[in-house]
């Protein structure tokens, strides 16, 4: 039994929750949030990894109740703001997001009676923008990445910060890029889940870099259990078009990146994110999104190098939000879709 999946609002806090997920009927969606007792699944790759001595397991983060790995951080950030009394009738949230955090945060916030203004870069796929609105976010879209340069930061982050500073009575900004709760979420859930699911056998963790909450929190936990676990971060080439991810040159925006926890940073041509995602969909039955494709490509590089191991890849979300991006990056995918 754990209090992990239990919303900490007053009404439910005193109830005793049955955490046997085989028999459990959930009283609200938040009880589905993952933890050691209710982990997101690990699924082995069977066709696309030819190295029997180095099995690769995908951690399917799209099995989170709001559809992506960002559920973990969003919940932790939201609960922290609630606990500190930062939210109220006239004060909602504002957050810069490339989509997933916003979708999780918006749906969670609305279900708990708060509102969210999501500031998003224009280049994220239309599906994500519409999903944000469906999830109940107000949307502010800005032209972003006009000319990447030192000191600029990120347009959506700066605009969200502006709202939080100029309209502090209306908005509070969780700030997933700087908030230690983002790291804590993964230290408390993702790390312990993987350790338990692999019975401590994990040798390599493969993850991408965005806010860096996932890599820092999960790595910190796994390294405490076994200091020899290798942490591999996979990043797209500069000038990429993989929503949610950052090249190291863009990492200045995240205060959560801890280089001491990362053994290797693998740079992968971002086009491969899309082709590998398609291969995962068509060969493994894993309907993985482009960031998962990128991580998989990086993992294969290490498998070839290290030969032996037990790898876990964190697959952030599935393909459904990326059909328009896939059409853009996979030649021929859009053909034959009209009469």
């Amino acid at each position: 039994m754990t209090a992990r999946a239990l919303p900490r609002n007053e009404k439910l806090a005193e109830e005793v929750i049955d955490m046997n997920h085989q028999t459990r009927v959930y009283e609200n969606i938040f009880e589905l949030l993952p933890g050691e007792e209710n982990p997101t699944p690990l699924v082995r790759l069977n066709k696309l990894n030819p190295f029997a001595e180095f099995p690769l397991y995908a951690k399917l983060e799209w099995m989170n109740p709001f559809g992506s790995v960002k559920d973990r951080a969003a919940w932790e950030l939201l609960r922290d703001l609630e606990a500190r009394g930062e939210l109220g009738d006239s004060r909602g949230l504002v957050e810069p997001t490339s989509g997933n955090t916003g979708i999780s945060l918006a749906a969670m916030a609305r279900a708990r009676g708060h509102r969210l203004l999501a500031v998003v870069p224009n280049k994220i796929p239309l599906e994500k923008k519409v999903l944000l609105k469906i999830a109940g976010a107000e949307l502010e879209v800005i032209s972003d990445e006009l000319c990447p340069a030192p000191g600029l930061g990120d347009g959506s982050i700066n605009l969200a910060k502006t709202h939080a500073k100029a309209s502090a009575k209306k908005y509070v900004m969780p700030n997933q890029y700087e908030n230690a709760k983002n790291v804590e979420a993964h230290f408390k859930t993702t790390g312990p889940e993987i350790w338990k699911q692999t019975a401590g056998k994990i040798t390599h963790l493969f993850t991408s870099l965005g806010t860096c909450g996932t890599v820092t929190g999960t790595a910190k936990f796994l390294r405490e259990k076994n200091p020899h676990v290798k942490i591999i971060a996979v990043q797209p080439t500069e000038g990429h078009d993989v929503p949610g991810l950052r090249n190291v040159s863009q990492l200045g925006v995240s205060k959560l990146f801890d280089a001491s926890l990362v053994d290797d940073i693998i740079e992968v041509d971002f086009q491969l994110a899309y082709t590998r995602a398609l291969e995962l969909c068509q060969n493994e039955g894993l309907l993985a999104g482009p960031s998962s494709g990128l991580i998989f490509e990086g993992a294969l590089e290490i498998v070839r190098r290290d030969k032996n191991g037990h790898g876990v890849m964190i697959f952030p979300d599935n393909i459904f939000k990326y059909t328009s991006n896939m059409v853009k990056h996979i030649p021929g995918l859009g053909s034959g879709t009209q009469p």
């Binding site: 224009n122 990445e145 600029l152 700066n158 605009l159 502006t162 100029a166």
Partner: protein, 281 residues
């Protein structure tokens, strides 16, 4: 200040904070993303929209002297005021505004070093959504100084005669013609590449990690010693539509004190579309 030739044209964020609301000090925010001002600005700052207020709305040109006078009059600025300009993207359009203020002879105009991002990220600095209280003036501009501006015929001439430094401040991919404009930008040209003989020195070369200008000795080492800008010659800076090049124009003219520096605001969207104009890739 950092050994600049004209330190009087630059102020720090702390100076702005200390001088907020003082008579004779006027703040104007000019952003690339025109949403930023409305989301929050420095108390008392007026916002100018570069698309609708700093350019003629019919022909492609800067606003006329009369339009400039009306703009500043409506903003409550007097010719004797100290005007502080700041904006997003490390002051791109604030620098463009600075150039315009100098063309129309405003005596005391300065840039806030680091722009709005620096202010935003300093915990002791506040922003507001309150509109400023403005008392309109009858602004009368001084003599127009068109020596700060390069027009196409002159650019074609100096290109041919090779008598002038040409500084292309766009990104490397724009310089080599791999792209015509940064992704998502609507203003483009018919051809990619650069003006023959131009040196590619991206505008961002001039700023440090926090977005403030590098000290003069570093700037001199980059522009003069490494990139070969000849300080004895005249210089023309250009980019795509003239805003990033205003930033470099400011650096070369005021921070390094080069003798005659002009901004070619027609820039690549004009030059890259001219039939028969020589181009290098």
């Amino acid at each position: 200040m950092a050994n600049y030739s004209h330190p009087e044209v630059l102020v720090e964020t702390d100076w702005v904070k200390q001088n907020l609301g003082k008579p004779g000090v006027k703040l104007i925010e000019i952003d690339v993303d025109t949403k930023s001002y409305n989301a929050g600005h420095i108390s008392g700052a007026v916002g100018f929209n570069w698309q609708t207020q700093l350019q003629d709305q019919v022909r492609r040109d800067i606003i006329t002297k009369e339009q400039f006078e009306k703009l500043l009059g409506d903003a409550g600025v007097s010719p004797d005021d100290t005007v502080i300009l700041y904006g997003d993207n490390n002051n791109w359009f604030a620098a463009y505004g600075f150039w315009l203020f100098k063309i129309y002879g405003h005596k005391d105009v300065r840039l806030m070093n680091g722009g709005r991002v620096k202010w935003l990220n300093e915990s002791d600095k506040e922003l507001t959504t309150e509109p400023p209280k403005i008392t309109p003036t009858q602004y009368r501009a001084a003599a127009t100084d068109l020596s700060l501006r390069a027009l196409l015929p002159e650019v074609l001439r100096v290109q041919q005669e090779k008598i002038c430094n040409l500084v292309d401040v766009r990104s490397p991919d724009e310089f080599t013609g791999k792209v015509i404009a940064p992704p998502g930008m609507t203003e483009t040209a018919q051809r990619g590449g650069h003006i023959p003989g131009a040196k590619g020195i991206p505008w961002s070369t001039a700023v440090g990690a926090d977005g403030t200008f590098k000290p003069a000795d570093e700037l001199r080492a980059i522009y003069v010693e490494q990139k070969g800008v000849d300080p004895q010659k005249e210089t023309i800076a250009y980019c795509r539509i003239g805003e990033r090049s205003s930033h470099t124009w400011f650096v070369l003219k005021y921070l390094l004190g080069l003798p005659k520096v002009r901004n070619y605001d027609g820039s690549w969207t004009e030059y890259g579309s001219i039939v028969g104009a020589p181009i290098e890739k």
